[in-house]
């Protein structure tokens, strides 16, 4: 609901009378119409610095009009909508007011360009329609896409008319070339600042390493001091010959070469078949394991088929 409301916001003719527009858009859902009405006022709101009382009354009137003239049955949703909308409108209105000056300028510029714009629009439309193919498939069904194309066409005609209003509340972003807290300028500056030269970087690392070493040393001393305080020495338990291998503290060996490791693994693999299944209990265990795993697999399959059945995946057409 809200979507459509928002969407339509851009498509409103400014100069047209309400009745005319209502006629035009009557095919669409009622909700959209409601929002149209609301939006039209909103544009006035923005000019009049937003008073919430007046538009509300108007809206109610208008809605009655629509319902009478075109016999659209209302639903309870409308009532709810009213309340919500009021709130929303106020907010949006406020937002718009916060950037009034920029807009005024931009409108003029856009007016001048209008002719050109509509041309490019047409081109775009052509592209859009062709790309609608992909989209159509997403929507499942060609018919649908045709409809949406039509709809879009309708939208387009109205957008052309409404260009000016649309531009009015477009927020303008500066190029940011003066300000280096955000945007392109920041990224470019960051890039160059990140490359101060090899020597500088070397220095930074050296500094870090000394600091790091100091910190480690400090920690060690602290620990020792703490231990000494109570007259105790903390004994750490090491399992097996951990020290000779490369673990947490094992600096003695350093690193394995990859080749040696692979060699080791392959040796291990070779010796396996002899040991494996040598004793009867091993074989029996293996067999049992296999049966168990197969059983579980079978169960899984069964379960899966149930799921498939639910999803009706057995239709080869």
């Amino acid at each position: 609901m809200k979507e459509t409301r928002k969407l339509k916001k851009t498509n409103l003719p400014e100069g047209e009378t309400d009745g005319k527009r209502v006629g035009k858009q009557i095919q669409r859902k009622k909700k959209v119409q409601v929002s149209n009405v609301e939006l039209n006022e909103q544009s006035q709101d923005t000019q009049q610095a937003n008073s919430s009382e007046k538009p509300k009354r108007k809206k109610v009137e208008l809605k009655k009009k629509i319902q009478k003239s075109k016999e659209i049955n209302s639903s309870p949703v409308d009532g709810k909508l009213n309340g919500k909308m009021k709130k929303r409108k106020e907010k949006v209105g406020n937002v718009d007011i916060s950037e009034p000056n920029l807009e005024a300028i931009s409108t003029k510029i856009v007016k001048g360009k209008k002719g050109k714009m509509s041309k490019t629009k047409k081109k775009r439309k052509a592209e859009e329609i062709s790309s609608a193919k992909v989209e159509a498939d997403h929507l499942k069904g060609e018919r649908k896409s045709k409809k949406s194309n039509k709809k879009r066409k309708m939208d387009m005609t109205s957008t052309k008319e409404n260009k000016i209003e649309e531009e009015e509340d477009v927020y303008q972003i500066s190029s940011g070339d003066e300000d280096c807290t955000w945007g392109m300028k920041k990224w470019v500056t960051d890039y160059y600042e990140g490359r101060p030269g090899l020597d500088e970087l070397q220095k930074r690392i050296d500094d870090f390493m000394t600091a790091h070493d100091e910190r480690l040393e400090q920690e060690k001393q602290d620990k020792e001091a703490k231990a000494a305080e109570g007259g105790w020495t903390v004994v750490v338990h090491h399992k097996g010959r951990k020290k000779t291998t490369e673990t947490e503290s094992g600096t003695a060996v350093g690193s394995f070469s990859q080749a040696a490791l692979e060699d080791k693994i392959s040796k291990k693999k070779q010796s396996e078949p002899v040991a494996h299944g040598f004793y009867r209990f091993q074989r029996r265990e293996a067999q049992l394991n296999e049966i168990l795993s197969l059983q579980s697999k079978f169960e899984q399959d069964k379960k899966r088929i149930q799921q498939l059945r639910a999803a009706r995946r057995f239709k080869p057409f």
Partner: protein, 1049 residues
């Protein structure tokens, strides 16, 4: 044991499949009864002795060339139901019941078997029936069709007015039968019955024509026999259904010159009567036995002979004659008709290949290949590497000597095209299939046969191997062999060329010159040349599906892969330099490539930049120079040492220190320029920028040893990732060496994924694995040998794979054993554990297991998540459908092909458009994005600080300055995205990391509880938020549109 469960789960599935596909004959029989009686009623209303003349269908009679066709109408001798309905072998969605109408003898003269008179009268008889059916109120419509695509034998398809939802599209096919209309002896295979079929004035036998009449004469009898075999043998009927499903999924064998439902049932009944199958077998076993029989039996060479009903035996001479005249013989029990007379040798070859492939599937694949055999659609685009469509509409050359002789002109044309291509392509093609479907839905016999060329003729070619297909020189016969040489010259015309080869041979040859990176176009060139030369077609008539996707890989007018040679050279030099470096504490022991450009799978491998060299050549600085250069990662390993620090941070710093030392040394000793940040060191070499990474071996050995053993042991994730990436790089590199088409397909796939803004969901490496799977596990097809085919299969894999219930195992070097598979499956099951409780709660929505990563941790552990995956699948499905349609149907304008890569922008909640001229590599942009929907929230000005090309003024600066100016791996889009991720958690960006100018945004779903609290706040949020986003991307962001505000469900 294993085999048992395999079959068990398969049997379960097959039973379910059968249940779904079988029709309910109780309710169907009533429907059929009603329809048949209303047809009978309508036919009864036809006045006896109604004079029938050719006026009813003058064009048809003229086109088949019949004379003296007038007769007076008599009621049919009777009706009988035949076909799959009568043997309970119908399979959904087919709901067409065959009804035989026995033609009365009184309407025909004794000699009507001559010169298509029978065919003409048969058609006129149907015309009369049609007229009266149309006037019946219980019949909705009557449509013309043909029997097995044989245009001279039309049939009527009647749609009753009464509809039953259970059987959508229910119809009755009226087939005339001609039991004992003519003398069988007159129609023996050696006789000529069409006078115009002559060779140099001597009449030639017309076996196909004769068979066409004989077939009608024994329709009834054969159908009765089938009924007898199939009744009281339920399994046989089920097997028939299975075979039908299998064949129907394969458009290349379920066509007029190969298999059809009737032939399948005939083959089954042959097997049954010859005790090749017995009643102890279940349907699936019969299915397998039948496939095995089709694929391997020696009996095909001899011909299949159903046991004769009467005492007549087929004599040896007759058998010989059948063998000589037809490639496949299935002689019916009357001993006069070869039921397989339409089958061609190519069609049969295809059938045998398919059948043996299926046997392989049943043996090797999960669940006995159930999915692949019954559920996977194998249409032309996915089956053939090289597809061609010939538009022959209105080409009179096709029917120059008449539409129907012994064979029909379209079949003759098929043959002609096939033999031309066979000769022209030689061993480049493994198989060539030419199929021309003639009838379309709105055909009416009144319009005659000339309109039957509307559908394009389809040619599908399976390439034998890429090496052969890419061969540039074809050597023909020796010059000495005069006759052969003359023939060769005649075939090739001006293309043939007498050449002297290295081995001293002088021979005729053809040379197809082309660039290294356009070798995939050689076959296209050849095909076009031959068809133009011999069939006098124009280029517009020949649509070849080969290079239509290449536009997406185009960079400034050519495929950038052409520069990869330089790139590899530069890399080699670099790795040599690195290994030679002296004066650092630990020497460099190995150098390995990580970047995809170094394994040919990068969509846009970088082009050499004149500034990124040891010595800048000022002459090359003239043209427009990009101001950015991508960095390619290279991994180095150092000698082992025990002096490495223990904690991660320190290790990383030490690595940086090493890298700086290396850079210094390169710069000072070898004069190779380098640039560095705190984390990266980039080396300029031969026009490229390489980024160095160090793999710390201690981390590596820990990875190998399974971390789980001791939780205290901790593997630094940087090292683990580096190790995985290096493994991946080397495996993929090996793979692209094995399959030359792999790299282009992977590039297309990557382009597609990013063009649809999925760069954030699917890692490039994951795409490479997916494409690898297409090549490594091609069953039920062969290995793809063309770009379009490979790409389509990638899309179908993405779209059709059952990601929820199965892991995708990519066994690159074929080294997974059973234990590995079990391990993978266990990992997979644990990733799906949460599924039972909550459908969203799964990790690895796409579980990709590779040799170096059996738990799918490397690329797809967190992304795509379930939602992203669903979106990806939906996009892939629609793209695959569009692509298959493009291959099969008539459109060939580039716009429609572009649709595959043009993503619809209105599928997002908000869209950010970027300034195109602020993208670092503007030429990578596929399509400029525009939007004319939604609310235009903000518009931004372009920054003047950054330009993708160096301003000409800068080029005059010193080389040192230029080098500093050149930005390595600078990507504003990436900067914006990382900013977005940090600041706006509720926005999910969808982007194209290759070089798109649009970023889609969707709102992340909120907690419903939270919503109530924050409702007020969030309602006003979206606009504000998008404006803030715009501020963050100042100078880069062009426009922001809001399409849908956040939804609260």
């Amino acid at each position: 044991m294993e085999a048992d469960t395999k079959t068990d789960s398969r049997t379960l599935k097959v039973n379910d499949l059968l249940k779904d596909v079988r029709l309910d004959y109780d309710s169907l029989s009533k429907l059929v009864g009603d329809a048949v009686s209303s047809i009978k009623e309508a036919i009864d209303g036809i006045p006896e002795d109604f004079k029938v003349t050719s006026e009813l269908a003058p064009n048809f009679v003229k086109d088949i060339g019949a004379d003296k066709v007038d007769f007076s109408f008599k009621k049919p001798n009777g009706f009988s139901l035949c076909g799959s309905y009568s043997i309970c072998g119908m399979a959904k969605p087919d709901t067409c019941v065959d009804l035989l109408v026995h033609l009365p003898k009184e309407c025909f003269y004794e000699k009507d078997y001559m010169n298509h008179r029978y065919h003409a009268k048969r058609c006129l008889y149907l015309c009369v029936i049609e007229k009266h059916l149309l006037s019946s109120s219980s019949i909705e419509k009557v449509v013309w069709s043909t029997l097995q695509n044989e245009a001279r034998k039309p049939v009527l398809v009647v749609f009753p007015a009464k509809k039953v939802d259970q059987f959508p599209g229910f119809s009755i096919r009226i087939i005339p039968s001609a039991t004992s209309l003519f003398s069988v002896a007159k129609l023996s295979m050696s006789r000529n019955n069409v006078r115009s079929v002559t060779a140099d004035g001597v009449p030639e036998p017309t076996p196909t024509y004769n068979s066409s009449i004989l077939e009608d004469m024994f329709l009834e009898e054969n159908s009765e026999l089938l009924k007898k075999t199939f009744s009281e043998w339920k399994e046989l009927g089920d097997a028939l259904i299975l075979l039908k499903i299998w064949a129907r999924q394969r458009s290349s064998i379920y066509v007029h010159d190969c298999l059809n439902g009737f032939l399948i049932s005939v083959i089954l009944s042959y097997l049954a009567t010859h005790a090749k199958i017995n009643k102890a077998l279940n349907a699936l076993d019969i299915f397998r036995v039948t496939l095995d029989f089709i694929a391997t039996s020696k009996l095909w060479e001899r011909g299949l002979y159903l046991p004769p009903q009467s005492e007549i035996r087929v004599s040896k001479e007759e058998k010989m004659q059948f063998r000589e005249l037809f490639p496949v013989v299935i002689c019916d029990s009357s001993t006069f008709v070869n039921l397989a007379f339409r089958m061609t040798s190519v069609g049969f070859q295809e059938l045998q290949d398919e059948a043996s492939l299926m046997l392989k599937c049943m043996e090797k694949l999960r669940d006995g290949g159930f999915e692949e055999i019954f559920m996977t659609k194998i249409d032309y685009p996915v089956k053939y590497d090289h597809c061609i469509r010939l538009q022959l509409k209105g080409k009179t050359a096709v029917s120059m000597s008449g539409f129907c002789l012994d064979k029909e002109c379209w079949r003759l044309y098929e043959q002609k095209v096939h033999s031309l291509l066979l000769e022209g392509l030689g061993d480049r093609a493994k198989s060539i299939r030419v199929v021309w479907r003639n009838t379309n839905q709105d055909w009416h016999v009144e319009s005659g046969l000339s309109v039957l060329d509307r559908e394009p003729l389809f040619i599908g070619i399976s390439v034998s191997s890429t090496e052969k297909a890419y061969r540039t020189v074809d050597i023909g016969p020796d010059a000495e062999n005069k006759i052969e040489a003359l023939r060769f010259r005649k075939f090739w015309g001006e293309k043939s060329d007498l050449r002297r080869f290295k081995d001293g041979r002088i021979a005729e040859s053809t040379v197809w010159e082309t660039q290294q990176w356009t070798k995939h176009l050689i076959m296209k060139q050849i095909v076009e040349y031959i068809l133009k030369r011999h069939l006098s077609l124009s280029s517009d008539d020949i649509v070849q599906l080969v290079d239509q996707l290449d536009f997406s890989l185009d960079y400034g007018g050519k495929d950038p892969i052409s520069l990869s040679g330089n790139l590899l050279q530069a890399y080699e030099v670099l790795s040599k330099c690195l290994r030679e470096i002296e004066g650092i504490p630990l020497k460099v022991s190995s150098v390995q490539p990580l970047d995809s450009a170094l394994r040919f799978t990068s969509v846009f491998p970088p082009e050499p930049h004149p500034v990124a060299c040891e010595k800048i050549d000022s002459r090359r600085l003239q043209k427009l120079l990009p101001s950015c250069i991508p960095a390619m990662e290279v991994m180095i390993q150092l000698e082992g040492s025990g002096n490495w620090p223990m904690d991660d941070l320190a290790v990383e710093k030490t690595k940086s220190a090493f890298l700086l030392k290396i850079a210094e040394s390169l710069q000072n000793v070898k004069g190779i320029p380098c640039t560095a940040t705190e984390d990266n060191v980039d080396v300029f070499m031969g026009g490229y920028a390489f980024r160095l990474r160090i793999l710390h071996e201690r981390g590596l050995s820990l990875v190998k040893r399974e971390i789980g053993v001791d939780p205290v042991k901790h593997v630094s994730s940087t090292d683990k990732m580096l190790f995985i990436r290096s493994q991946h790089a080397s495996m993929i590199n090996g793979l692209q060496g094995r399959f030359p088409i792999y790299a282009p397909v992977a590039r297309l796939a990557k382009r597609w994924v990013s063009a649809h803004l999925f760069s954030g969901c699917l890692a490039e490496e994951a795409i490479e694995l997916l494409v690898a799977h297409v090549f490594l596990t091609p069953l039920p097809l062969g290995v793809p040998c063309s770009r379009i085919n490979g790409f389509l299969r990638f899309l179908r894999l993405l779209a059709d794979y059952d990601w929820m219930f199965y892991p995708l195992i990519v066994d690159i070097n074929n080294d997974f054993g059973r234990n590995d598979e079990k391990e993978i499956n266990d990992n997979f099951m644990s990733s799906r554990k949460g599924y039972e409780e909550d459908r969203q709660n799964i990790s690895s929505a796409m579980f990709l297991a590779a040799p170096y990563d059996k738990a799918s941790e490397a690329w797809t552990a967190t992304s795509p998540n379930l939602l992203e995956q669903k979106r990806l699948v939906a996009y892939a499905r629609s793209s695959a459908n569009v692509l298959s349609k493009l291959v099969l149907q008539e459109h060939n304008d580039s716009v429609r092909w572009e649709c595959l890569f043009r993503t619809p922008l209105h599928n997002y909640d908000a869209v950010i458009l970027l300034h195109r001229d602020k993208l670092p590599y503007p030429r990578r942009l596929l399509f400029p994005s525009e939007l004319n929907q939604g609310k235009h929230v903000a518009r931004g000005k372009a920054s003047r600080l950054f330009n993708p090309f160096m301003p000409p003024g800068d080029l005059k600066r010193s080389h040192e300055e230029l080098k500093n100016k050149l930005m390595v791996d600078f990507e504003p889009t990436k900067c914006l995205l990382s900013g977005l991720q940090e600041e706006f958690g509720t926005l999910k960006p969808w982007y194209d990391h290759i070089g798109g100018d649009a970023i889609g945004l969707t709102w992340n779903k909120h907690n419903s509880k939270k919503r109530e609290r924050d409702e007020e706040e969030e309602e006003s949020n979206p606009m504000e938020m998008l404006k803030a986003v715009g501020e963050m991307g100042k100078g880069l962001v062009r426009d922001i549109y809001l399409l849908k505000p956040p939804r609260f469900v």
